[in-house]
């Protein structure tokens, strides 16, 4: 007897419809994955840095972790839940603590919840990667990470984030959804690069006399590594690592894909596509703001920035980015508050 033939359904024309809520979820999914990766990198490099400088005394250590917490704006939250800032407590706080909305686990959980809401929209490969990353994190805790050496752990997180972004590139249609994914990714990346630089600003401030010393060079190297930029920087400048050159590279490089200017160029491009801005003169506030921001980045020099104050400049960059992102979200997304969990669960599924 011949086996029954299993026929695939005929292809249907794909409709180009994107629900606002779906766009919103794509945007946040993408942002949170990028955020998790950046936090992993920041944390890893700083842990590594401490290991490299075992001679650090308690004061230096506190300063070191203090500046990391300060740059992410988490000092108050941290102090509420932990007695002192050391490698273990900071790892716990930034990697696993669900009370910290920006811990790696929180970010991956949020990314996954967003992905789960729109599972029908993203590719199976994208979903499986996020899901596996989440399941992987759920099985780990700070003690495990320290027992096995943190390197592998952070490597896994970064690799999964890259895998996710690569799979998105290889399996997701170039549609409006793609624009939201990219927009979210570059907003987050620009913001995090600014923040990574800002950590160094906090390190610098208390002891201006150390500038140029061995520790300082190592710290600037750490900054570059936090931004995955060390090798790119070396290829570009070849020579020694100079603080203002590092700042210049991370802010103004127009070829390095994590520099602020590179990201803002992408933001401007995807934002104009999302908002349907075709003309030379922007119609929306968001497009005007991003054009202005891009123009600033293209015309300023590192000297201008240092004169104005690096910290002030970076804070302004962060603020503008969030404002632009909020504007885009508001103009494209309009729907009501979510129903409650209880009400959703009440629905009998027979």
């Amino acid at each position: 007897m011949p086996p029954p033939i299993f026929k695939l359904p005929p292809p249907r024309p794909q409709t180009n419809v994107m629900l606002s809520r779906v766009a919103h979820s794509l945007y946040w999914m993408s942002r949170y994955i990028e955020r998790a990766e950046n936090i992993a990198r920041l944390l890893e490099v700083n842990l590594q840095f401490i290991l490299d400088f075992r001679g650090y005394d308690d004061v230096h250590l506190r300063e070191h972790w203090g500046s990391l917490l300060a740059s992410s704006g988490d000092v108050a939250l941290f102090e509420k839940h932990y007695e002192s800032a050391n490698s273990q407590s900071v790892t716990e706080f930034f990697a696993f603590d669900l009370r910290n909305q920006d811990s790696i686990l929180s970010c991956v959980f949020t990314a996954r919840e967003n992905a789960r809401m729109i599972r029908d929209q993203i590719s199976v490969e994208m979903w499986e990667t996020i899901n596996e990353l989440y399941l992987f994190l759920k099985t780990k805790n700070t003690a495990d990470v320290w027992a096995a050496g943190p390197y592998e752990f952070f490597q896994d997180i970064k690799r999964n984030s890259h895998l996710f972004q690569g799979l998105t590139d290889a399996t997701y249609s170039r549609s409006e959804g793609w624009e939201f994914i990219q927009f979210g990714k570059f907003v987050e990346r620009a913001h995090k690069t600014a923040q990574i630089l800002d950590v160094k600003y906090h390190i610098l401030l208390p002891n201006a006399g150390d500038v140029g010393g061995a520790v300082d060079t190592a710290q600037w190297q750490a900054v570059l590594r936090s931004g995955s930029a060390l090798e790119a920087y070396r290829r570009f400048y070849v020579n020694e690592i100079l603080p203002w050159k590092v700042a210049e590279f991370l802010i103004f490089s127009d070829s390095f894909p994590r520099s602020v200017q590179f990201c803002v160029t992408q933001i401007d491009e995807f934002l104009r596509r999302i908002l349907g801005e075709t003309g030379n003169r922007p119609k929306s506030a968001a497009a005007r703001a991003s054009k202005r921001m891009l123009a600033n980045l293209q015309s300023l020099t590192i000297d201008d920035v240092l004169k104005e104050g690096l910290h002030e400049f970076l804070v302004e960059v962060g603020g503008s980015l969030e404002k632009i992102a909020d504007d885009v979200v508001r103009t494209t997304m309009f729907y009501q508050a979510e129903s409650t969990q209880e009400e959703q669960q009440l629905q009998q599924q027979q």
Partner: protein, 481 residues
């Protein structure tokens, strides 16, 4: 040592694989030959691979009362349930007969109510049914189809007769597990399917989409179909996504939709887009806060008005729950006879109504030997299995039945058939049921297969996933050898 080294005792039950003497039934023979040569470690390896795949793919249901919303996989048993072609032929006819009668019944209930006037079904029972929607009297649904998607629960008694346990006519779920189970089995035993002649179930989503397109209002030659979900926290959210994805239609929440001038639209990034058909997975009560529960955040204000105006179609229609009420269930054999003038092909389980004086007396006196069910619950809740319950539990139900008779029925306990199931270290018999899925569009189609649920706990008769149940792939054979 293989899976089948030690056949278990079939006991006083109908066993799907072993006949009474212990010999293997003919339609299981090739499976037994195959499994008999499969070494245990290899079987274990495939089992673990399937579990892992389910977890990775997120084929899960949500367990409530957990802040992170723990998701579990629905336990899957690798030994398939096999149905011979001849048997299925009868089942298919019976299911089509039943759904045809149910749709006629619903039409009549919401129009002339001839069946009440002819005293086949008492008016009192209909009027007191929780899901009877008098608001929809004299409303004409597209093509007179009330139930487009039906999941009928079937069980087998001690002699192997198939009986209808209940009709699910509102939002039957579980079909995604039928499809995912098959996909898992194809990966685990690719060669078995080729040689066995198992009928494919994969056509389900295609037929579902056709049934949905069938009811689209005429105005559009390219209708927009959406699936309306309560949201990501609903236990069946995986299924909603799965089906939407299979059909290539958007999955929407109530807040994604709005009604203007009695037309339904979805909010997209480029504005409002009209919606023609809604496959809703939300209860009637929550569909439209302007008509039903005013506090519902899940629904869409104005949706019912748009439906009444014929501008949007709903599947299933509103008010279908009156026909799957467990009290009304008792009348379905008469309903079939009344509308079709045929004898029912599939029998009911003997049922007693607490609302009828003589039945009530019988129920109250014999409660310890009966299964008592609340009329409108699902998921194995609100149910008493007399023979397996303590005195206190029986007393509790006795009081509930006496206080609110309309809400309860009782049935003779049926010793569900058993199927060989892997229980940690060997095969044992475990009780199973079967939920085939029936779709009503231009044609009525029964997908050859269904969801076989299995009560994994020894001796248990409750197959629901919330109560320790698992599932199996269901093979309908194309031809009997």
């Amino acid at each position: 040592m293989s899976l089948l080294s030690n056949p278990y005792d079939v006991g006083d039950f109908f066993d799907e694989m072993y006949a009474t003497g212990g010999e293997v039934r003919p339609h299981y023979k090739s499976l037994v030959d195959r499994l008999g040569t499969l070494p245990l470690p290899e079987f274990d390896r495939r089992r673990a691979a399937i579990d892992l795949a389910f977890l990775r793919r997120g084929v899960t249901f949500t367990v409530y009362n957990d802040s992170e919303g723990t998701e579990r996989i629905f336990p899957f048993d690798l030994i398939p349930r096999i149905i011979p072609a001849k048997e299925w032929e009868v089942l298919e006819k019976g299911l089509i007969q039943r759904i045809t009668a149910l749709n006629l019944f619903l039409h009549d209930l919401y129009h002339e109510q001839k069946i009440i006037k002819d005293k086949v079904v008492p008016a009192q029972q209909i009027l007191t049914a929780k899901h009877f929607r008098r608001e929809f009297m004299n409303f004409n649904v597209p093509h007179d189809i009330y139930v487009h998607i039906c999941g009928t629960d079937l069980i087998r008694d001690r002699d192997g007769n198939y009986l209808v346990l209940e009709d699910n006519l509102r939002c039957p779920s579980g079909v995604s597990y039928m499809l995912e189970n098959r996909a898992a089995m194809r990966r685990a035993f690719p060669n078995l399917f080729q040689s066995y002649g198992v009928r494919p179930v994969e056509g389900y989503s295609e037929v579902l989409l056709k049934s949905l397109l069938h009811i689209a209002p005429d105005r559009s030659d390219k209708p927009n179909v959406v699936l309306l979900t309560p949201g990501v926290y609903n236990s069946a959210y995986f299924e909603h996504c799965f089906l939407a994805r299979q059909m290539g239609i958007p999955i929407v929440e109530g807040r994604d939709l709005l009604v203007q001038d009695m037309r339904v639209y979805m909010r997209t990034t480029s504005g409002l887009l009209p919606v023609d058909v809604i496959y809703r997975r939300i209860d009637d009560d929550f569909l439209d806060p302007a008509v039903f529960r005013p506090d519902s955040m899940l629904g869409v204000p104005g949706l019912v008005a748009a439906y009444r105006a014929g501008n949007v179609a709903l599947a299933n229609s509103i008010g279908t729950g009156v026909a799957d009420d467990k009290v009304i269930y008792a009348f379905i054999p008469k309903v079939i006879k009344y509308y079709l003038d045929q004898e029912p092909i599939l029998q009911n389980v003997a049922t007693y109504l607490a609302s009828e004086t003589s039945d009530r007396k019988f129920i109250l006196e014999n409660m310890a030997n009966l299964v008592v069910k609340s009329a409108n619950e699902a998921g194995g809740y609100g149910m008493l299995i007399g023979p397996a319950s303590t005195k206190a539990e029986v007393e509790e139900f006795r009081a509930m039945v006496a206080a609110n008779p309309r809400n309860f029925i009782a049935q003779d306990p049926v010793n569900l058939s058993r199927s060989p199931t892997w229980c940690g270290d060997r095969l044992e018999g475990r009780h199973i049921d079967l939920r085939p899925y029936v779709l009503c569009g231009k044609k009525t189609v029964v997908t050859p297969g269904g969801l076989t649920r299995v009560a994994l706990r020894k001796g248990s008769l409750v197959v629901n996933s919330s109560q320790g149940g698992g599932s199996k792939d269901t093979w309908v054979l194309a031809e009997d050898k």
